[in-house]
Symmetry: none
Subunit: 235 residues, 2 copies
């Protein structure tokens, strides 16, 4: 159950939070945890706070690179506590759960650092933000508590559906998307639409556009074909 | 907000859990905590884990007697992790939230000890049980995590119909989309990616892609800018 859903924790400082998140996951039937640059792991505090969810900690995948941790994932949700400067599609936990359960390919739900969450640059890799609607005056949600709420909604959604039918054709992997963005960026430089010395927000805006589209393989092929044809025809 | 809803914690052993519960409550806009026979309170661990929700701890009401802590409450929900021997009406967190918000009089949502929860005798004081549907093989929900889930549902119920949708402006008109497609088609012919005598399904596929993206004005401008730059740079 939920075998394709990866909970990705980025830059966690307090190992106790890793344990508490594992416990939260396990109560809701999830098992796949990934850690990106945890400050301390494995760690006794993590094990203590896991309170019996040791199997999740034992099977954790640890990554040095954020991008690498998402490489095989076809849909990425980034948990974000705050309003961000950049407009990105924002889902409620319930809407996130609905979307997540439609897909049978690997997906990631990403949670950021205790104090600062995910950076804007990290959020740009996400198809959607998911926001737990905290009180305006106090949005300081503990990371394991956030994991608890999101996984609770996954479980409620799964109990509601009772079955998985007619999954959508899976979107391409994050790796394919990165290759597309690199190709696109280079082409935009080639046609002098993007000045690499003054890139402004152009690539971010294009990421926002294509990330929310959930491209499938045949579409990536078309878009990369267009980029290649453009490059071949530049004077 | 939620001024009539009391979160009642009974017989908590670890003061850190009291702090974490206060933090959970505050993120969801609740403020009224009651403690029945806490093992240690006030306590530095509680304050540390409250992480800024000190006002809730400062205003906590501490009771020696369970009955007394509920005396002024008109509706009492008891959180219960397990199936109980006694048949009692059991609500989901969502149903609990719906019921709770119907009443303007003081109500209580009661959470039990870390290891054993509420006793059957304590549950008998409740109008309803509320059960977070944990995985059958691992129901060990941390008490502050349980408070987080229940208060999250209270907040979601309160914000029901509230708008957390994408902060994106409305999509562009069909006319703008047609102009984009014409510009795109001409450019694809210019770079020899599209053969007008054998167009195949290319434009249809691109329409499918961009139609489901629901482009906004600024994005149309970027895309048309890219097309113009491409046309200007063709050899």
């Amino acid at each position: 159950m939920f075998d394709n859903i990866n909970i990705v924790l980025v830059g966690i400082t307090h190992p106790g939070n890793i344990g508490a998140a594992a416990r939260a996951m396990k109560t809701m039937g999830l098992s796949k945890m990934r850690l990106v640059q945890p400050k301390q792991f494995p760690n006794a505090d993590a094990t203590a706070r896991a309170c019996g969810a040791d199997d999740i900690l034992f099977n954790v995948q640890v990554f040095d690179s954020y991008e690498e941790s998402l490489q095989d994932c076809h849909l990425v949700f980034g948990a974000s506590a705050r309003q961000r400067m950049i407009a990105w599609p924002v889902l409620t936990p319930k809407a996130c759960a609905e979307q997540a359960l439609q897909l049978q390919a690997p997906i990631a739900i990403v949670f950021g650092r205790e104090n600062s969450g995910l950076t804007n640059k990290e959020l740009e890799h996400c198809n959607y933000l998911v926001q737990i609607p905290t009180d305006n005056t106090f949005s300081s949600l503990n990371v394991a508590a956030a994991v608890q709420v999101i996984t609770y909604e996954l479980r409620m959604e799964e109990l509601k559906q009772g079955n998985f039918d007619s999954p959508l054709p899976p979107p391409v992997s994050a790796e394919s998307m990165e290759q597309l963005y690199q190709h696109l960026e280079q082409t935009l430089i080639d046609i002098k639409f993007l000045n690499p010395n003054h890139p402004r927000l152009l690539m971010r805006r294009l990421r926002r556009l294509f990330n929310r589209t959930q491209l499938v393989d045949s579409e990536i092929n078309i878009l990369r074909g267009i980029l290649t044809a453009t490059q071949e025809n530049i004077k």
